[in-house]
């Protein structure tokens, strides 16, 4: 993570589009009167969905909507790394390079992205269609390596498959999200490797038998106590 600051290039103004404005109102209404500031994160997210990134005018507009000081909104926007403070491409590719992904080959994925798009990490293509970024753990280690594009997780990617995804996006198609190597969710590739047998009950599962054994032992003890001493 590096120091997060507002982009030097800012649009002149910001206003929520009608459908977003409607959603913003619904979000604010969720919080009790006087607690509207709680809506700051969903509203920043909404602004990011509309513009692609969080702009300075958007921060001012949200501050005004929620009756907060702009600096308080800026604090939130700079704290959370998923709020983009710089313009990003239409398809924002975030490749995880944290340890599990790196062990599973994320370096090759990043390299493939760079080659394919002709941009480096943290950069945007000239046509504004793609931007590339490395991120810390996105929480999909079981399907490492992975890349997040927009809201979708593309998992089990490698150099070839991320290339195909980018090609598809370039053609304007919507590639299928999820594991790219044929896995179903996080199930193993091919056959199951564990839990193949029918499950066996754990010991002491048969309570009937246990109860019978217990009662028998009790009866034996009683019989032994009742037997005349010799």
């Amino acid at each position: 993570m590096s120091v997060r600051q507002l982009s030097p290039d800012q649009p002149a103004s910001f206003a929520f589009k009608p459908e977003y404005s409607e959603r913003a109102k619904r979000i604010i209404a969720k919080y009790p009167a006087g607690r509207q500031a709680s809506a700051v994160m969903p509203l920043l997210d909404l602004a990011q969905r509309q513009e692609g990134w969080v702009t300075r005018p958007a921060i001012d507009v949200i501050a005004q909507m929620l009756g907060m000081a702009s600096i308080r909104v800026l604090e939130v926007a700079t704290f959370y790394t998923m709020f983009e403070l710089h313009p990003v491409g239409q398809h924002h590719i975030q490749v995880c390079t944290n340890l599990p992904c790196q062990l599973r080959g994320s370096d090759a994925v990043v390299h493939a992205c760079k080659e394919k798009l002709g941009i480096g990490l943290g950069e945007r293509t000239a046509d504004g269609k793609f931007s590339l970024m490395e991120v810390e753990c996105a929480g999909a280690c079981v399907n490492a390596p992975m890349a997040q594009i927009g809201d979708d997780y593309f998992e089990d990617v490698d150099a070839a498959s991320i290339g195909k995804i980018i090609d598809a996006l370039k053609r304007g198609e919507k590639p299928k999200a999820g594991p790219q190597n044929g896995r179903v969710h996080s199930a193993p590739l091919g056959n199951f490797t564990s839990l193949n047998d029918a499950p066996t009950p754990p010991p002491m599962q048969d309570l009937g038998a246990a109860k019978a054994a217990f009662e028998k032992a009790k009866a034996d003890a009683a019989a032994k106590a009742a037997a005349p001493k010799t």
Binding site: M1, S2, V3, R4, Q5, L6, R56, M68, A69, S70, I71, R72, L74, E75, T78, F79
Partner: protein, 680 residues
Amino acid sequence: MTKLTIDGKSVEVPPNTTIIQAAELAGVEIPRFCYHERLSIAGNCRMCLVEVEKSPKPVASCAMPVAEGMVVHTRSDKANKARNGVMEFLLINHPLDCPICDQGGECDLQDQAMAYGTDRGRYDEAKRAVKDKNMGPLVSTIMTRCIHCTRCVRFATEVAGVQELGATGRGEDMEITTYLEKALSSELSGNVVDLCPVGALTSKPYAFSARPWELRKTETIDVMDAVGSAVRVDARGREVMRVLPRLNEIVNEEWLSDKGRHACDGLQYQRLDKPYVRGANGKLKEATWAEAFAAIAAKVKNLPGTKVAALAGDLVDAEAMFALKQLMSSLGSPNLDCRQDGAAVDPAVRASYLFNSGIAGIDQADALLIVGADPRKEAPIINARIRKRYLRGGVHISVIGEKLDLTYPYHWVGASPDLIAACKPPEGSKTPMIILGMAALTRPDGAAILESARRVAEQTGVVKEGWNGFNVLHTAAARVGGLDVGFAPGAGGKDTRRILDAASKGEIEVVYLLGADEIDTAKLGKAFVIYQGHHGDKGAHRADVVLPGSAYTEKSGTYVNTEGRVQRAERAVFPPGDAREDWAIVRALSEALGKKLPFDSLDQVRAAMRAANPIFAAIDSVTKAEWKPFGTAGTIAATGFNYPIKNYYMTDPISRASRTMAQCTEEFVMGSKARTGTHG
């Protein structure tokens, strides 16, 4: 009460106290950076860790409430080890640049590193570097030194009431900044420099000018507004280097307004250091004291007293006004006034011109009506006190006047003062309060407004047995002192407005301006003007004879603040050149005029003052004023107020001469003005 043991000492404290507060009561000092008793608790520096028995880990004492039977060790091995660790972490990124840091010698981190730090680090990594931020002309930033205690952020948000400072980013990348690096738009911004425990925020005007151990420290009071904040003047040689606030719970707590703190460089410029006499060519010429006195004597000696008048300014000490009043009465002149602005207060009734509840009385108020006052500009310290009261809750604040940004919300009654008659505090209010500003009293209908306010006060319980919430907020440090020595029109005498009228008509031939600069000097007409003061301001430009006096840092003088508290300003440096103490100038002049005043030393002046008005005997305290009728019934015009302070940073000769205040004016008052090519 909760009983606990701290370092073997048993203490009893009220419940809801924190350990650090309890330790303070027990006389045990716990090191801290982020904790400050006047700010909310952040608990983020971890320097105040202590060992509490039966607690598995060291406890942050600033955030932990006391519990019955708690046993606290603040100096045990465990506590010390914890602090050593915290200090080591703090020093990972803090630069070791104390020799070039302005905080050096008065730095909390430096001091505590001596106590808890090690003499070598275990970290080879590069330290972080942080971009410096712009916080305006008063606060210099070296953000690499910041340890993220967030005291400045909490001060700006809570005390100053301007939500402009914040912490962006997080973890190692956390940075303190103002929104878009705008200057901090508060009249109390200088206080963040005092609060900063390291050298991240330092005073810009004072940058690299002195080390604390070189300075001679004088405890005195501030005269830039009528609050009378307790200050400490730090001087080196003949120069006042800086002004810092002193603790005074009943007046300024520990804050100081920006003007009080930073106008002190004005004491270096535009000074009158020699007597001047206007020559035949119409130009002021340097003269000796004897020549100046001779020029005055030639004019005054054969004149009837009624043709002489005196006006006292906003920064004058009570002794000088007392001496001049004596001189005027020996000349037979009843024409004297200390109210340059023509405020309609009644000099005969002390309760009519005091902030009767006292500044600390604001803490008890449960309803507040502000009429024609802009406390944020006229007395930032009092405004902060009102905001503190607002934050505690349960107070209803209303305003008659312009819709000003006072840093707290209020109910706006309307713009015109005729609405006051219908005002009453909300149902069940026990301690209501009215604050009457100079904008209301300096109008032609000021006396009617005063009367109307008095009637409302009497009828709505603002004034009653055991509570007097009728408050006049003055803007000048000398005003209450002047009224208390009786520097007001005598029998048949003229007040400021009439003196100026008479002077322009030629009825008054000699006008003595004792530091009076806030009058329309064009109205002095052809009168012979004597100006006694310390700065070459409006009054001196018009004067025919200039007598160089001394500023508030250069004499021992009595000032009475807006609540009627008699306070002493003490001499920190000597006045420049031939300038003298003001009472002594008047005394010397009296001899030249053949009306020798009966005192030869400051003690004798003060004894005479005490004899004339016993309130001057009670230094540092307030003599409660007796409630009597005052004001003149009349019609009140339904027009808005004309506030006296347009530019907070320049209100008197000292602040007008100050370069720092000029920068502030440019930044905050003329901010919208386009910058031209000559600006850097």
